[in-house]
Symmetry: C2
Subunit: 126 residues, 2 copies
């Protein structure tokens, strides 16, 4: 009997550890880069493509799908035929901000040459 092939939106959790669980959800090369972009106001497919890290189009499409399935992202149709979507973070997705802020602090402190993020990004949300 063949094991059913896992779809790329399916996520298997390795343990109940909150760190491992977070990594199972967003611990890849691209997901948190997309979250970052959404936090600074980007919303459309082309916006994410324009970021300096140059995410491949197929990966972006797959990540948006998976993050939507995970409840991190919601999409709104802003045009029908052809369908066009604006993506935004849910509360769950937005709550990753402190993780990103601390990544910024770490890289700024320990990796020379990293950019200083805008104050608005580093400011605590109420």
């Amino acid at each position: 009997m063949k094991k059913p092939r896992a779809k790329n939106t399916d996520i298997a959790f390795r343990s109940g550890c909150p760190i491992a669980t977070t990594l199972d959800l967003v611990g890849d090369r691209w997901s948190l880069v997309i979250v970052r972009d959404m936090i600074v106001g980007k919303a459309k497919f082309g916006d994410f493509l324009a970021s300096p890290e140059r995410i491949p189009t197929n990966i972006l499409a797959a990540r948006l799908k998976r993050m939507e399935a995970a409840g991190l992202v919601a999409k709104r149709t802003y045009q029908i035929n052809p369908a066009r979507y604006a993506y935004r973070l849910s509360d769950k997705g937005m709550a990753l901000l402190p993780v990103l802020q601390n990544m910024c602090r770490w890289a700024n402190a320990y990796v020379p040459g990293t950019w200083t993020p805008p104050e608005s990004f580093m400011a605590p949300r109420v």
Copy 2:
């Protein structure tokens, strides 16, 4: 002319963004799990293998090598012939703790069933 094969300890940075840079260094399925283990006092190859996430042995060996090359981890020889090492975090590696703590807060708040980390893990370091 063939592109010289990148070694698995080599890291290419996608941009100067501190988030993307952090992900280039530790943004994979396993690195931060190993950092977590070291923070709670694990030090030897077998210690990391024993964690509930069950990291494959070849991935563990590769990650330890890469994290050492990145200056996140230092190893001390505790036995010669056969060589045996105890791994521990450098200051740079230990400074990732706030990132991990915020991953814990996020998962505990938004992913039901995740374990509550020990207080000592969540306590701010001086």
